[in-house]
Symmetry: C2
Amino acid sequence: MSESRQDIHNSDVPTLCRACEARHNGICGALRTDELLRLSRHTTSRRVPAGTELVGEAENIETYANVLSGVVKLSKVMADGRQQIVGLQFAPDFVGRPFQESSKVCAEAASDVTLCIFPKRSLDAMMVEAPGLEHRLLRQSLNELDDAREWMLTLGRKTAEEKVASFLHLIATHIDPEKQVARTNRAAFDLPMTRADIADFLGLTIETVSRQITKLRKAGVIEIEGTRHVTVPDIAELEAIANG
Amino acid sequence: MSESRQDIHNSDVPTLCRACEARHNGICGALRTDELLRLSRHTTSRRVPAGTELVGEAENIETYANVLSGVVKLSKVMADGRQQIVGLQFAPDFVGRPFQESSKVCAEAASDVTLCIFPKRSLDAMMVEAPGLEHRLLRQSLNELDDAREWMLTLGRKTAEEKVASFLHLIATHIDPEKQVARTNRAAFDLPMTRADIADFLGLTIETVSRQITKLRKAGVIEIEGTRHVTVPDIAELEAIANG
DNA sequence: CGATATGTTGATGGTCCTCAAGACCCGTGG
DNA sequence: CCACGGGTCTTGAGGACCATCAACATATCG
């Protein structure tokens, strides 16, 4: 494996891609150096502040993107304004919907986000030539499907307390792509979204979210500094609450 | 296209596959006649009664399947028994989870079901050779993901009445693979599952489901014979209720 | 024709939503 | 430095919706 495909001419790897997480674990890992180079010609790296709308619901899709840092939220809105977040994407996830003209969800930066953006057409074309690309996309899609189904259980059957605990556990285990499943059983992180976002993710109101967070804090399951910084002294305990 | 790949030697198409929906719209459409033949050697068609467990949660996966008729439910159960149905599969859907040893959901026949069952190993091997297979799987996965997200909105933000209307609308538009989106604005069908299943799908109790069905019936939105046969005189109205 | 599973209806209560007020946070400008 | 203001978050009181418990009705099947 010392001669894996993307390392044949490492010096030819586009500068943009050198330090990119998506190249290693994301979909770009399926591309040869020359393919990477071709794609990168139409690619731009962009840093956007929290709240930026990337793709509107029912909007035509012109571009895809990879998340390099931060959190992107996918949401749906009903006619009367009720909103539900239907997915969160962390680095190095791929954001986009192949084989479809328009998006069925709204994609928005939940925190400050850096993205690698490329035209839909470029990747669509490349998918025909490089079958490994569809393979990677299939893997990610199946994982997202697993996540979505896990979350359906949370939305449909868990209590408010369990929901909030589930959310905190999700963030604790996903926010930091580096320290993977660092088996320290302890985590500290900043919540990447507002109480309103959390409520929309959990199918609750902000008041209920706030109350449950307070409850978990008073029970010693979590510690909080300011309103965003969370410390979890015992992740196993949090997980136990999340699962009833 | 008069010489499309699977018609080159139509007489060589396995008997099993001749009348199969999955061959036309399902994943088998990606296979050449000879590949179809090879796969079919390890394939069995099976008819199972409602309630049959196909794959247990956290169970090792040995086989995949195509749904030929009926409805398969995918569900998750919590330690204390709370249950959530996280997906319904109709003909000609593919049932299975590539790239994973064990299943994260339980697959069970919701109604009487006919399946086309084949070994995981056979299809896994074929996926390497026939890239069109991964393409089809990717398409289905993305569609399932869209469905799952649509349902997350239902679970998280809709009222009991809207949930039940959403479910009836889903069944009305998916149960009959033939008459596709027959723009008659009228539908008649048998519910393929019990009230308990419906409740588990909607994140409600059977009592609430029953009450909401009664309410829709008294409002003239649906008509019911026995407990299972439903007639929807105005699908648009049902959909309007489902969406608030 | 009874037996069991499935479905309906009613009474009551708990969980979470709604409405409302106040506390905290943070950047801006006096 | 502090006052101000808007956004965010917390806390409280009351109410709506759906769950729970219970009884009964209906369907299904040996």
